[in-house]
């Protein structure tokens, strides 16, 4: 099973255009995001000290990031002291190679996986497949994506773009290819679908010698990794196999055990809209006679130190992957996750991908613009990541990366001309005289009258067509405000 890949995705506006025409996607997403959005709002409203909690969670992550190297070294020492093997990986290729090497060392040709963004980010499944190792996703939504040769479209619910009828179809057609087939009487009832997945996955849990996970948090002082989940499938992976390999982004470290307090309270309410998540698994190295007897932790950078060096953007490393920003985002709600071309979609993806990878690639460079800057994401973020400010800063990085271009982009020419006119009120008066003249002509020739009586400007050419293709625009008035003010002495004449 190859699974999809995001490589070669078109820039956001083009991908979004295609997604907007997908009726099923629009319907599924509008329903799903509104449901989870409302649920989050309800459970957050229950917590009187929510704002204090946000501030506390932010402080914990900031403290960790401020002295990251020290906390990571402490994490390594704590883990090693408790019998875990710590590996350091600079990038995706190194991390994948480590996981493959450990798996091969145990003669295994398959691994069961706990849902993990880090392993999705590094393309672990595809890398393992190339090494002859099958990686089985055990999170229900990840399983749906994997069986459907699909791409994830949401951080928490990667199959959010699928409805139950589609899921039934995927299970019916594909489960038999990779293990226990779906029962013949499979319906699209959620409980029936879950039961089919349960029976299918149970075989794999009981057979696998090696499990791969990520971690929501890594406590430096105790060497404890934490996985938070809803289904219990992660718990199966974390306890049954002999070998456990956890791939953990270096920004997941928190200094002390107590630091988990605000974060574990913020995460479930922000994420699934639950007061508390059903399963919290914590393990510190190897516990003799209990659970995996060989524990590996792969600490990956993969662009994180690059992000850390970005004064404005580094706050994105506070992210605890709750996906509240996706659920509340009006852009995400309409275009879905695939349009972002990354396992990290939505507002957080729009800033995280440029931070991890830079903006030299046109697809990544289109992401900071994939937002109306409405600010709903910042409002719900449990660790107060000011996503709109980061987006604006990254737009400047995109523009700056083109300042040396031999031929400037039309947008740059237009912006410079506008800025030139706005740099001196005398130039602006000339521009108004021109627009007023156009307005007089349009007033006579225009065929559309807007509600209230003004004449519409009609269809504009060039970039203006992007506006008028769907929206009327009033024709400019013959007299600007400043011309009126000067002619009438501010209305006094």
């Amino acid at each position: 099973m190859t699974g999809g890949t995001f490589v070669g995705m078109p820039a956001f506006p083009e991908a979004a255009r295609a997604a907007l025409g997908d009726t099923q996607l629009r319907h599924n997403l509008a329903h799903a995001t509104h449901t989870i959005r409302d649920k989050r709002a309800r459970v957050v409203a229950e917590v009187e000290e929510w704002e204090e909690l946000r501030v506390a969670g932010t402080a914990v992550k900031e403290a960790a990031l401020r002295d990251l190297a020290t906390h990571l070294e402490q994490l390594e020492a704590s883990l090693t002291a408790r019998g875990a093997t710590v590996h350091w990986a600079r990038d995706a290729a190194e991390a994948c190679a480590i996981v493959a090497r450990v798996t091969h060392a145990h003669g295994a040709d398959e691994v069961v996986k706990v849902k993990s963004m880090a392993t999705a980010e590094i393309g672990l499944n595809e890398a393992l497949e190339a090494e002859g190792i099958a990686a089985w996703e055990t999170d229900l939504a990840e399983l749906i994506v994997q069986l459907g040769d699909d791409l994830p479209s949401h951080i928490l619910v990667p199959a959010i773009h699928r409805n139950r009828a589609e899921i039934r179809e995927i299970f019916r057609r594909r489960m038999g290819d990779v293990g226990r087939p779906a029962p013949d009487d499979l319906t699209d009832e959620p409980s029936v679908l879950a039961a089919a997945a349960r029976a299918h996955l149970r075989e794999k849990f009981l057979r696998a010698k090696v499990a791969v996970s990520g971690a929501n948090f890594a406590v430096a002082e105790t060497g404890t990794l934490v996985v938070v989940e809803s289904e219990g499938n992660g718990r199966m992976c974390l306890t049954l196999p002999e070998v456990l390999i956890s791939v953990v982004g270096i920004e997941k470290v928190v200094p002390t055990w107590r630091d988990l307090d605000p974060l574990l309270r913020l995460l479930p309410r922000s994420s699934t809209g639950e007061r508390m998540n059903p399963y919290t698994s914590m393990w510190s190295g190897v516990t003799p006679g209990d659970g995996p007897q060989e524990v590996h932790v792969v600490l990956i950078d993969n662009g994180r130190t690059r992000a850390l060096a970005d004064d404005v953007g580094r706050q994105a490393l506070r992210c605890i992957r709750c996906s509240a920003c996706l659920n509340v985002c009006p852009v995400y709600e309409r275009v879905g996750g695939h349009a972002y071309g990354s396992v990290y979609p939505g507002p957080i993806g729009a800033i995280l991908n440029p931070l991890l990878n830079g903006v030299s690639d046109p697809q990544t460079a289109s992401l900071p613009y994939a937002s109306s800057l409405c600010g709903a994401c910042f409002e719900v973020c449990p660790v107060r990541i000011d996503i709109p400010s980061v987006l604006v800063d990254q737009r400047a990085q995109v523009v700056d990366s083109h300042r040396g271009d031999a031929v400037p982009k039309p947008e740059a020419v237009a912006m410079r001309a506008t800025a030139w006119a706005f740099s001196d009120a005398r130039r602006l008066r000339w521009a108004h005289r021109a627009s007023g003249g156009a307005g007089r002509v349009l007033d006579r020739l225009g065929r559309t009258t807007l509600p209230g009586g003004r004449r519409a400007a009609g269809r504009l050419p060039g970039p203006g067509a992007a506006w008028t293709s769907a929206r009327d625009l009033p024709a400019p008035p013959a007299e600007s405000f400043r011309a009126w003010w000067q002619r009438t002495d501010g209305g006094r004449r």
């Binding site: 800057l373 523009v399 410079r416 293709s469 009327d472 009033p474």
Partner: protein, 261 residues
């Protein structure tokens, strides 16, 4: 108190009646508002598209035009947000300490209209009369960047003759987003058509907001649908009185065909 009007580039060029309405309204409330003619734009179009170097001379024009005023009033949450939250970024980029010092003066003194009326002047009943059914769209920057809260509603609720109906999903973005509206036109229109649908669901005659840029987008869609629903700026409702209502030169009902000078 020396009060200056920041009319905004879009009102200056496209919606002069909104500027006239602010002047009418403030004078009625006893504020002798000035219009510094050296003003141009808050520089938000450049900043939000990533053109920070280009924004520097525009911000310079802003601080020069508004230097010395005690309060700068603007009929735009977005432009007030730009002055308060983004001018410092541009000033830092310029590397000019004098500009940094200047924006630290003008930024905090820039008030969105409803903030100025409620917080600075301390009025909610501005003596307006507007016998129409309207629905209010809280624009994102006024709501989330400035935190104007229910000030516009407080003002609207005191307008005689006015019926205010609730807008479903009111706090969701209309999809304008500055250059987002053309750089990601399809997504912008998808968002806007949902907003327009919610406006129509209310049965209101008009949709009111504190930003003409958002209204240009929502109104542009409503007009293309031939819905008959009209966008109207908060300032024009608040400026309207029994004397001006129905008169052809009143700001509240201004911008009729053939009315322009």
């Amino acid at each position: 108190m020396r009060v200056a009007l920041l009319v905004t580039c879009i009102n200056d060029a496209l919606y002069p009646d909104t500027g006239k309405a602010v002047v009418t309204l403030l004078r009625r409330l006893g504020v002798d508002v000035d219009f510094p003619t050296a003003q141009t734009c808050c520089a938000q179009p450049m900043v939000n598209t990533g053109y920070l170097d280009e924004a520097v001379p525009v911000v310079r024009t802003y601080v020069d035009a508004f230097a010395g005023y005690d309060a700068i009033v603007t009929p735009s949450g977005s432009c007030a947000g730009s002055a308060r939250h983004q001018h410092s970024i541009v000033a830092r980029r310029s590397g000019d300490p004098a500009l940094e010092a200047a924006v630290a003066q003008t930024g905090p003194r820039t008030h969105e209209l409803s903030e100025f009326l409620v917080d600075v002047l301390g009025v909610t009943d501005v003596g307006a009369y507007f016998p129409h059914t309207v629905t209010y769209h809280p624009t994102c920057h006024s709501l989330r960047m400035l935190g104007v809260g229910d000030r516009p509603r407080q003002l609207l609720e005191k307008v005689r003759g006015l019926t205010l109906v609730d807008l479903p999903q009111a706090e969701e973005c209309c999809g304008f987003g500055g250059t987002f509206a053309v750089k990601n036109a399809d997504t912008s229109v998808a968002m806007g058509s949902d907003k327009a649908r919610h406006v129509r669901e209310t049965g209101a005659e008009m949709v009111v907001a504190g930003d003409n840029s958002c209204l240009m987008h929502i109104g542009g869609l409503l007009s293309r649908e031939r819905s008959g629903v009209r966008p109207v700026h908060l300032a024009e409702i608040l400026a309207s009185t029994e004397d001006s209502e129905g008169r052809s030169d009143g700001p509240a009902v201004g911008a009729r065909a053939g009315e322009r000078a």
